[in-house]
């Protein structure tokens, strides 16, 4: 069963919970417990803001099994405000053209329906940052 696998990742999928390295202060997402920069242990929880900007983007026309019903869909690598890059789908674009550098914010959406039993997997996507959110 894949349910427990997705459940284990709920903090990351729903809330972008990562880590910060106590030695060099690198902000780490996804969490990996050993700092990729200095090699020291990094288990201190860090809550990312969910704000960032588009580092690169594309559209997936030939989707893998499990994602075909949403195809085509926009996909991006987002540079989080705190430093890390994260791969995620873009959402709520309406007719807004995507550009490198576009400010985005994290939202929770359905990622895929898993297998024939139809387990729905939810997680982060990114949408254009709303003016209201930018002021706060």
């Amino acid at each position: 069963m894949e349910t427990s696998r997705h459940w284990r990742l709920r903090q990351q999928r729903y809330a972008l919970v990562g880590e910060v390295c106590p030695s060099c202060e690198l902000k780490i997402f996804p969490p990996r417990d050993i700092c990729p920069d200095c090699g020291n242990e990094a288990r201190t929880i860090f809550q990312f803001s969910g704000r960032g900007e588009v580092y690169s983007h594309t559209t997936v026309y030939q989707a893998p099994a499990g994602h075909t019903e949403n195809s085509p869909y926009p996909l991006a690598i987002v540079r989080l405000e705190e430093g890390p890059l994260v791969t995620a789908q873009l959402t709520d674009l309406a007719d807004k053209p995507v550009e490198i550098g576009m400010p985005v914010e994290m939202v929770t959406r359905k990622l895929r329906s898993d297998g024939e039993r139809g387990i729905l997997v939810y997680g982060y996507k990114f949408r254009p940052r709303l003016a209201r959110a930018e002021q706060s």
Partner: protein, 410 residues
């Protein structure tokens, strides 16, 4: 803890050079099957065709060990345990055999395992086989199986495909280096041109810039001519110590002069520098060092053009171009058979076809054929040193080999 950090940074990119007592390793035979959609041939029969061809080419050497490069058989054929299966099926029942998996770099990594075994003297004659059977499943299943080479929890779950990752890198590359929309077209054009005279190639037809520019998008800005077609294929090599080889038949011997594998962050978003191809750079540097060769001495470069952007990144990482200038080599005068640094001399993945884990073995076999002067219309004149590199995922694994033609009679 600081101590550990220090030792990490001083360790350098690769393993130390060859220990004393190691012998030179020669490629004693090569075998390749046509790459394509082989509806009528099974995985084991594809493998057998390549093995038989390589054994015949090696003139009767019998292998003591089999290294199988394969990534997709468990997912697409419901078949693992290929070492025993294929040794048995090829009439080699009883020999040591195993499967090596490093996504698209499996072929190069398997060749390195065989090289290490033969160089150390633990194995006298090694058979390396790359085999992939992809056409039994529909494209969604193939994309999903290929996406297992990315981070399942943080990339594949987002609907990432191999093509989408290449597209993300390509757009960022164009952005950072101000490259025009058709900057990479030349890689595809030259690959197709080289495949015309390759009997094992899937697409034996030249294409025009106009065709490239009008091709449908796979994942913008990456179009169908930027992407290599996944297809069935098998290729094999026989490796042996120089002392083991049967009397020469007049062909120049080809030595594996340098062999290296390096890894980088598994997920593209975990790379501190996503366009840097660090594993490509580290393994190329280590392989050249072990061969005591300079990049300027290389006569041809079999790089892994599964997506055109990787041709640019590999050329930069190996030192053929400055950072950001790899796309400027996408021209006849630079990379064609008579160019400054010929690449993908039999059509590369783009036009020969991309048989996944077998790619690294095709590349090595093609390079051997160049160095032995057996490449016919694809011959790079006077080729004596070849650099061969294959990539797993978006470059998380890179295997690089330096092959060298030895002087006759030595």
């Amino acid at each position: 803890m600081t101590e550990r950090a220090d030792s990490r940074s001083s360790r350098g990119p690769g393993l130390p050079g060859q220990p004393n007592g190691w012998s030179p390793v020669l490629v004693a035979g090569i075998g390749m099957t046509p790459v394509g959609e082989h509806w009528d041939v099974s995985l084991r029969n594809l493998a057998l065709d390549a093995i038989s061809a390589a054994l015949e080419d090696a003139g009767g050497l019998r292998p003591d060990a089999l290294y199988v490069a394969n990534m997709l058989a468990p997912a697409l054929s419901g078949q693992s345990h290929l070492g025993a299966l294929l040794a048995d099926f090829a009439g080699l029942r009883g020999i040591e055999a195993t499967t090596v998996e490093a996504a698209g770099a499996s072929g190069g990594v398997a060749a390195r395992q065989a090289y290490l075994a033969v160089a150390s003297g633990a194995v006298e004659v090694a058979l390396v086989l790359g085999v992939e059977k992809v056409t039994d499943k529909d494209s969604g299943q193939v994309e999903a199986a290929l996406a297992t080479a990315s981070d399942a929890d943080y990339e594949a779950i987002q609907g990432v495909t191999a093509g989408a990752q290449a597209a993300l890198l390509m757009r960022r590359y164009f952005h950072e280096h101000r490259a025009p929309q058709d900057a990479l077209a030349g890689f595809s054009l030259v690959a197709h041109q080289n495949a015309v005279s390759n009997p094992n190639a899937m697409f034996r037809k030249a294409i025009s810039l106009e065709q490239y520019s009008n091709a449908p998008m796979v994942s913008d800005p990456l179009n169908t001519y930027d992407a290599a077609p996944m297809a069935d294929g098998a290729a094999a090599l026989i490796l042996a110590r120089a002392a083991t080889l049967l009397p020469p038949d007049g062909r120049p011997a080809v030595e594996i002069a340098g062999s290296a594998v390096a890894t980088a962050a598994m997920a593209v978003h975990d790379l501190p520098d996503p366009l840097g191809l660090p594993a490509g750079a580290a393994s190329a540097q280590a392989a050249l060092e072990r061969a005591a060769s300079q990049v300027e001495q290389v006569d041809l470069f079999e790089l892994h053009d599964r997506f055109s952007i990787f041709a640019a990144l590999s050329l930069e990482a190996a030192g053929f171009a400055e950072r950001g200038a790899g796309w400027l080599l996408a021209k006849q005068a630079e990379i064609a058979l008579d160019g400054r640094i010929p690449i993908c001399t039999y059509g590369g993945s783009k036009a020969r076809g991309e048989p996944g884990a077998a790619t690294g073995i095709y590349q090595l076999a093609e390079a051997v054929s160049q160095l032995q002067g057996r490449a016919g219309k694809n011959q790079v004149a006077g080729a004596s040193i070849a650099l061969v590199q294959c990539l797993g995922g978006s470059g998380a694994t890179a295997a690089t080999h330096v092959l060298r033609r030895m002087a006759n009679g030595t």
